[in-house]
């Protein structure tokens, strides 16, 4: 494999768990619910997945367990934040800390052990393609899953009736309610589904991308970055995936640059992706700046471009919905 193919393979692999977590949170937030527990949930799911795979010898069982952990953590958000109408933000924060500590505590005895990993799949046809073949053709199943899910969710959100209802619930829950849509039920469903994807991201870390368990595992911080990428991605699966791969690319690039510039401190390259991500966010949201608005008045063509890129959060994000209270 040549250098570029290797880099591309690295990006796809490193990006897979972030894509999964980002997609999960996008789904949840589209329904108008914020699940802030991503970072802790990913760790707890990573630990559970790894330990179960180790004990059973079956990495697939581990991945399934991770997914279940993610859904369970989301269930706590659904129960406290939706059913009992407590602050979703507060519940999410506490859950993050709880899940993280729980992961380190329960996983202590299994740290630094060699365990099973998900196999690498080689896809006939794709692996023989020129140039991209080596990068795309030999990958972990979670990589293929993250790619498929990206396009599936895109189609689901924007081309199906269920997707339309999902967006409606996150935009104007009251209007959705008057049209006979069961707002609370949909919100709970998508919170659980989104959480399941986040959990799967944890499994993708400990069973494929950064195999094994330890403190640190290497997945730390991924949840927070995923939360930022959801915003960067404008709550759109394709753009969210793009953001996740951009972040992965920055990380992979950091490793390469570190080899090229050995005199610079290594920590610089580890930290660099984060500020670069913030700069990207600024660039994406340039449309709200006054000087840019004046430009659009002078050049109406810009406005069209802007409309395509302008992102707005689901209008009812994080807000509680009680039909009786709206009276």
């Amino acid at each position: 494999m040549d250098f570029l193919a290797l880099t591309l393979a690295g990006i796809l692999s490193a990006g897979a768990p972030i894509v999964l977590a980002t997609l999960g949170e996008t789904l949840t937030e589209r329904a108008g619910v914020i699940n802030l527990s991503l970072d802790g949930t990913i760790l707890l799911a990573a630990m559970t997945g790894f330990v179960l795979a180790l004990l059973s010898g079956n990495p697939w069982l581990g991945l399934l367990a991770s997914t279940a952990v993610g859904a369970t953590s989301a269930a706590a958000v659904a129960l406290l934040g939706l059913a009992l109408a407590r602050s979703q933000l507060a519940v999410g924060f506490i859950l993050t800390l709880l899940c993280r500590d729980l992961a380190y505590f329960l996983g202590h005895n299994y740290a630094r052990q060699l365990g099973p990993e998900l196999p690498v799949w080689s896809i006939p046809g794709i692996r023989d393609l020129p140039f991209v073949g080596p990068a795309l053709g030999y990958q972990s199943p979670v990589v293929y899953l993250s790619l498929l899910l990206t396009f599936f969710l895109w189609w689901w959100l924007f081309s199906t009736r269920a997707g339309l209802e999902l967006r409606a619930v996150g935009e104007q829950p009251w209007a959705a309610f008057t049209r006979g849509i069961r707002v609370q039920r949909l919100r709970i469903t998508y919170t659980l589904l989104g959480g399941a994807l986040v959990g799967m991201a944890g499994g993708a870390f400990s069973l494929a991308v950064k195999p094994g368990w330890g403190r640190p595992q290497g997945a730390e911080g991924a949840g927070w970055i995923a939360l930022a990428i959801v915003i960067f991605g404008g709550w759109h699966p394709l753009r969210a995936a793009l953001g996740a791969y951009l972040f992965a690319a920055l990380q992979v690039l950091g490793i390469h640059l570190q080899e090229l510039f050995p005199m610079l401190p290594a920590s610089l390259f580890q930290v660099a992706p984060f500020p670069v991500m913030i700069l990207t966010l600024l660039l994406v949201n340039v449309g709200t700046a006054n000087w840019f608005r004046d430009l659009t008045l002078r050049y109406p063509g810009l406005k069209k471009w802007l409309n395509r890129w302008q992102v707005t959060a689901p209008a009812a994000l994080g807000r509680d919905f009680r039909p009786e209270k709206e009276a």
Binding site: L164, E171, Q172, T178, G180, N290, A315, P323
Partner: protein, 486 residues
């Protein structure tokens, strides 16, 4: 379908919204449901549409009880409700809005059906546009078509003529007549506008304080309706404000300004205001009048041009400087922008007049409760007040010495009595040489109270005339872009 309300009661906590309402609605008729704000009209209709349940009593469909109504159940029975603020999804496209919660259709099918139904009532709705791009009237038309597509036999229209143009109103009324007479549907027209109810309805039901105060058949008599709605103490019609004193020089001017708002910009606006002048702004929502008000208040940006007041340039300065210059802004969204919903009346007074001496409770009783007739306890929170009381509280909080008062829809959502009180206070301000600029959807209100009228269309100022030289009809035409300004 015949609908029967049997002894309906509804309580929200300790507040009684409906008290023992019984009535029967026959198919093929247009009913007017009349009452002042807070009379219980919307609550009663929401129970019929399944959005909330009666505390006591039941609703029968063709003589049968269907048990607990939910929105989907009510829709299944053929009851559809159209809200005052269209209940739609601004971020979604027109056809997506049409399909949501409706029959299973693919995109082509949905667009086709939308156009088919639209043609029947002369509604023209661009299917691929986002709903934010539509006017309130168009969004309402969209919602109406959606309900018809669902097969609604009983249509509830809650204050449907607020915020729509004269032409759109005529189209809507024609559609309502067609639906009732030709298709035998029941229509319930909820309103507090007497003239519209008299024009359209075959029967008028009047609610007062949660009870059915009267059930009338044509010919309707306005004074009788007013009596039933408000009790006998109030009269209809508004008084004009004080005369404009001549030969006073303008103190404020706007010169070739480009005003930039959230969604659009208003270019090349020029205007000058004299002391004590009342200027009414007419225009459909989103055509520039709100931008003018907010720019003069220092709340939105002036990209080009100047605002000059007393020789000082104000554009680009922070809002506080506008306030110091004697400009006060009076928002339409009372609870969202004007008041602190959870603070009490006393706390509002303390915030508004931080240097006032003496006991704030006494001051409040003196100022607010006696002079402005706010009917509330000093420690009640603003959230719990009625719309009229909230408006009077806002009026009472305006500082004594101001030069310019900018008002967005000063009487929106208020009943006649409360509206008259608002104008009574505003006229008094005017006599003290405060100038007023106000926007309103009610052209009669603009005509009655203004010295000068500005009309907006298509995000431009299209007319600036003395009020005696422009009629309500002409304003309506200018707002709809049907005539050019003289």
């Amino acid at each position: 379908m015949r609908i029967e309300f049997q002894d309906i009661h509804k309580y929200y906590g300790r507040v009684r919204a409906n008290a023992g309402i019984s009535l029967v609605l026959e198919p093929g008729r247009i009913y007017g449901l009349l009452g002042e704000n807070g009379a219980g009209k919307t609550t009663l209709m929401r129970m019929l549409a399944g959005h909330t349940q009666p505390s006591r009593g039941r609703i029968l469909f063709d003589g049968e009880s269907v048990g607990r109504l939910s929105p989907s159940r009510a829709l299944g029975m053929g009851v559809g409700m159209l809200y005052q603020d269209p209940q739609d999804f601004p971020a979604l496209t027109v056809w997506e809005n049409f399909r949501l919660g409706g029959r299973r259709r693919d995109k082509r099918n949905a667009i086709q059906r939308l156009q088919e139904l639209g043609d029947r009532f002369h509604f023209r709705l661009p299917p691929e546009e986002r709903a934010t791009e539509l006017t309130v009237g168009e969004r309402q038309q969209l919602d109406l078509l959606r309900l018809l597509d669902l097969g609604a036999n009983v249509l509830i229209l809650d204050e449907p003529t607020t915020g729509i143009s004269v032409t759109q109103k005529e189209t809507l009324f024609a559609a309502m007549n067609q639906l009732a007479k030709d298709q035998g549907r029941t229509i319930i027209f909820v309103t507090h506008k007497l003239a519209e109810a008299e024009e359209l309805c075959q029967e008028i039901l009047v609610l007062r304080q949660g009870r059915l105060a009267g059930q009338l058949l044509p010919p309707f008599r306005s004074d009788e309706l007013v009596d039933l709605m408000f009790g006998s103490e109030s009269g209809a019609g508004g008084e004009a404000g004080p005369k404009l004193q001549p030969n006073k020089n303008p103190f404020l001017s706007l010169e070739h300004a480009q005003l930039v708002g959230e969604k659009y910009a208003l270019s090349n606006a020029s205007l000058s205001i004299r002391p004590g002048e009342i200027v009414g702004l007419a225009g459909l929502e989103g055509n520039g009048q709100e931008l003018l008000l907010r720019s003069l208040a220092g709340l939105t940006r002036v990209a080009k041009g100047r605002i000059i007041m007393g020789g000082e340039q104000l554009q680009g300065l922070p809002y506080v400087r506008f306030r110091q210059a004697g400009i006060h802004f009076f928002p339409a969204a009372r609870l969202e922008e004007g008041l602190f919903p959870d603070l009490s009346l006393v706390e509002h007074f303390q915030l508004a007049f931080p240097t006032a001496r003496g006991n704030p409770v006494e001051r409040l009783s003196e100022e607010g409760i006696r002079r402005f007739r706010i009917h509330a306890q000093p420690f009640a929170s603003a959230r719990t007040l009625s719309g009229g009381n909230q408006q009077r509280l806002l009026l009472a909080l305006i500082p004594k010495q101001i030069k310019l008062l900018l008002l967005e829809h000063p009487t929106r959502g208020l009943d006649q009595g409360a509206g008259k009180l608002v104008w009574h206070h505003l006229a008094e301000r005017c006599r003290q040489d405060t100038s007023l600029i106000f926007s309103s959807a009610d052209l009669e209100e603009i005509k009655t109270h203004s010295h000068r009228i500005l009309v907006f269309y298509n995000r431009r100022l299209v007319a600036d005339r003395p009020s005696q030289s422009i009629s309500v009809e002409e304003m309506g035409r200018l707002m709809a872009g049907q005539a050019t300004a003289a």
